[in-house]
Point group: D2
Chain length 348, copies 4
């Protein structure tokens, strides 16, 4: 019997349209490092989708790399980055931010989110601390949309955070590794144009959202990071055959594919949430996007694991574990049905 | 009227015996970088005081510098250092640890202290985390004795922490910026020899303990940090006229001066604690060493500040502040008496 | 008329067999970060091709990234890497090595190569320097095969360099960005097995040698770099969909493809060299591989540039420039013929 | 018989006036980290001596530390520092610049000096290099006055270099570790005011010039390095008892002491140069300051070393060595006479 997997959202290759374009262009000769026409076309489309006609776009390969490079580009050497204590940069990037010399200044989170008030308080506490010159200066804020827990910032929340950052002349950066799943979520009211208007930098995730790999950094207002190309190279983040990124993002931003891509993932996740509730499982983190979290007692978890692969998120208590089911643009509804059966069977 | 100050324990110069030796030797010619006979003599005395006949001793200039250099020497590039969230390295060293590429892995504290259980749990959680290879590996533990809150680890506590670290083959490092005040404290049962037996590295603070400046790093078992001399130089921490450190520590370790030096500070701090209690002030952190913390309502604080300089530690709530009175080897008992009067006058 | 280009060897996509396999596997689900079966298969084939049954293999995305990560993994924090002054790491990697805290210790080159004698002398000079503890300690040697100038180390030369490094217990690392073109070159006598026997680390270049992207690091003797997976992650160099690298290298190492792949590039380069000599152009650097260098007077260069894209390598003198023609596994012989015509036309 | 030493210029303690002031002020209480009145007074005097009424002054402890901190403060993360290949930062600072992430971009020297033309050419070559965005961007220039070889930049030379730097909007920094010996040299025509006018940053060396330790960084035009205090702390370079530096530099800049201090060193060095010439020794590097270099055949060197300590500078050839005799503000003329005798005796 086929083993089904909901372990993560980067288990498949790329959207078929992307593969087709990569095949069609394979033996073309183009100049390297993102100076080709495919990259130019992709950048134009992204600018347009973001309503950021002056925006600078850079293509990098992966998420940790993008975070480390953008954050190092935005910060002065003596500054740190404000983030939720659950933020990817502080937990699962193997110290890539510290490798660049910067401290992650963590704030307690609620379902993966932090608030404008928390950021304001951190900045005021810093400003009022008699020892502030002996401390790491907060130099930017980092959010993810959706968060590591699948939750979303509303436009109102993001606007408040943006206001605080601007009042303190501090850049705001959003990690959009799973941005397509935010854009496809009915609860979401933050568009690409909103991100461009409210943030100083953000990235549009490709790896988890239909590309083989690749993340598109958007700097809505040009000139924010001088010599960013060189910083990318210095971080080992410059792809020689840059057109591979251009072709992928050009495809993702043709006919609004990126904004539609997440719909099947949302449908699948909604089905899984409904199935969990029906069986009596306890959902957690209140995620409306493609990551579904629930608390399993360890016996149930063991039974379920005989048929399904899923993510072990964190220990809940001595007898329970939080697990994650992730869907993607490529999730097969047949697999979702098998998962529902397995969830029913595992429940006792 | 003379303004009195209890702001910190590094406000005076050096113990008179040190100044005398610096004067006597001033025009001697010695080789640089700690290769002189004074450094050798000081090292021999420190080895003896620590019952560490094979120990390696290195002299550096200041505390932040020493922490950054030792920690960078002990860690592999992908490792972080475990510390209390109040640890000096995580709060008041301006990101010097991150500048070296390392993350500070913080644990909640109790009066500035962390426990063997907490360290054990962090190491087990790391070992059991399926994502551990994507995380910063804990590579050492950092304590301070006394802590930033003036509290002390007992020999029993330190032994437990040492056992956990050794079971996990992870070095234990103790920041002894104020070590003389621990050694002079009646409550203390951790000797220099205990530190040498239980830790892999520690430093004997000079700057706050009778020297003009200088910290003596002790590596009880030789060979722990290969090429540490070069690492010190790389960190800009190698003093050209190294003998200045040798002469100071030779003096501090002649006739047990270092271990006696803290006594006046303890006497002064005990008087201040008694005066605070008598007047009805609320002490906090339960510090038995040379740092005395208490909670003042902001009006009282303002009245007291008209006569006395002290440290503003942290906001307690909207109407109260935690303040610090620090004594030192040089504290004048006349000043203590004036402080007692001022405390009485400020109380209403 | 079709414009022809010999600017570089990373202008096309991937070998058709690779594209076919990527298409076939596109919607499979596999675990991330290189833990999939394709990576395992590719590693087994590389081990076999290298006669390194115990070898550890890691897949990274690009060359600068690979150099920075391997070098940081091999060096202690206070060590530097020995390289030719023309070495890629010292010139065209935007300071990625220094970003990791390490100095590039340069040696004068001859046609891009350095010798065992030079390395021996540098190590002896260091060992004999009274100030060596104030200097960056040489911690490894870096070569490229072929070099940046297209030249090759012979097995005899590599054996001598390897002997010097081993005598000094210092790892030897070879950058094989263009290794397929060395392996396909009739002059070459260094096999993959020789590299595995003589080096401590090397990488088999994919980006310039038939892959879309990707470099395979080979550590012939296991355990050389503890926690290298985490170091890769820390450097932002861990590809989420690691199987993309596995599939590509599995294809490249099936039926000896990698070792045959360079043959068309060699044939094309040989034709170009012959054409240049015939016309009377001055070749330089004596490269036998896929990079052909020649000295053009600037007028000739301008005429040629009207029809052909090529690389401007460096200024030779006020009226001459060194240019590069690079061929690849995908070079079309029709284009070579057009280049020959253009070379003839430009010559006056 | 007394053994005499001319090994270096940091073998003695401090000028007697400094020791006296340190004694007098020893038990005063002052706030830490350079916020005391002695530092303020010293800064005012240095501003005055430099004719830089708006200048910012910072006191650090040692030379390598000062170079690493200032250079890291002046450079963007992706920039490197231009220096002579003999510059202290590239050779004898154990990679402290690379530790901060920056490359040293070296130029060939002549007697330790580089020229405006060389810097201009490096900047033009960089600007014209098609691959410049893949290279380390030159971000500042580093000189030393006097150089590591004891030679001096003339005001004309420094003016030319300053013009090139300003034309390229690139800061110029001068390492003045031995500046007092430049100021005391009759050949010198570069005053403190010239340095302040022509450079963007320089440091006035104390360690080798009459202080126990300490270097005074001068930023003639304020605001050049925002948050430099925090950068100093981050580098572990902030002295807790900052007044020690204030008192020393206040003394050095009272009654022009710093500018007179080098005179005895110059007189001694001139005597040694005359003695060497008289005996027939070969001087080298043409140094007019307190460092005297000469080429000795190894037998002569061995004979001389029986009576005198001096510096082994570098191997000249298989049978000759370049050695250094360094004088200082404290050099005893009796010792110079003994050295002259020894030189005469060793000559055969």
């Amino acid at each position: 019997m086929k083993r089904i997997s909901f372990t993560s959202d980067y288990m498949e290759g790329a959207h078929p349209l992307i593969m087709q374009r990569l095949m069609e262009t394979n033996l073309e000769k183009t100049p390297g490092y993102g100076t080709d026409a495919y990259c130019e076309a992709a950048k134009a489309k992204i600018r347009s989708a973001c309503h950021a006609p002056e925006g600078e776009i850079f293509f990098l390969v992966g998420g940790t790399q993008t975070n480390a490079t953008v954050i190092d580009g935005l910060l002065q050497s003596y500054q740190g980055v404000i983030a939720a204590e659950t933020g990817h940069i502080g937990v699962h990037e193997a110290g890539a931010i510290e490798f660049g010399g910067h401290k992650v200044l963590t704030l307690p989170h609620k379902n993966g989110k932090i608030t404008a008030e928390q950021i304001e308080k951190l900045l005021c506490d810093y400003a009022n601390d008699a020892n502030r010159d002996h401390m790491v200066m907060p130099g930017m804020a980092y959010l993810s949309q959706p968060t590591e827990y699948g939750t979303l910032y509303s436009r109102a929340e993001l606007t408040q955070i943006s206001s605080v950052c601007r009042a303190h002349r501090m850049p705001l950066y959003v990690d959009g590794a799973r941005l397509a799943y935010a854009l496809a979520c009915p609860e979401n009211d933050v568009s690409l144009a909103d991100l461009a208007a409210l943030c100083d930098a953000f990235y549009i995730g490709g790896t988890k959202c239909g590309a083989l790999f690749g993340e598109a950094v958007v700097l809505p207002r040009p000139g924010l990071i001088p010599h960013f190309f060189t910083i990318i190279k210095q971080h080992g983040a410059l792809l020689a055959k840059g057109r591979l990124l251009g072709i992928q993002f050009d495809t993702l931003f043709t006919d609004g594919l990126y904004e539609k891509l997440g719909a099947p993932a949302m449908a699948a996740a909604d089905h899984i949430r409904a199935a969990l509730r029906e069986c009596g499982y306890t959902l957690c983190f209140d995620s409306p996007t493609n990551q579904v979290f629930c608390i399993l007692d360890n016996d149930t978890m063991a039974r379920l694991a005989q048929k399904v692969d899923f993510g072990f998120w964190e220990k809940y208590d001595d007898t329970h574990t939080i697990v994650r089911f992730a869907t993607s643009w490529a999730t097969d509804m047949g697999d979702v049905k098998l998962l529902k059966d397995a969830l029913r069977d595992a429940w006792q």
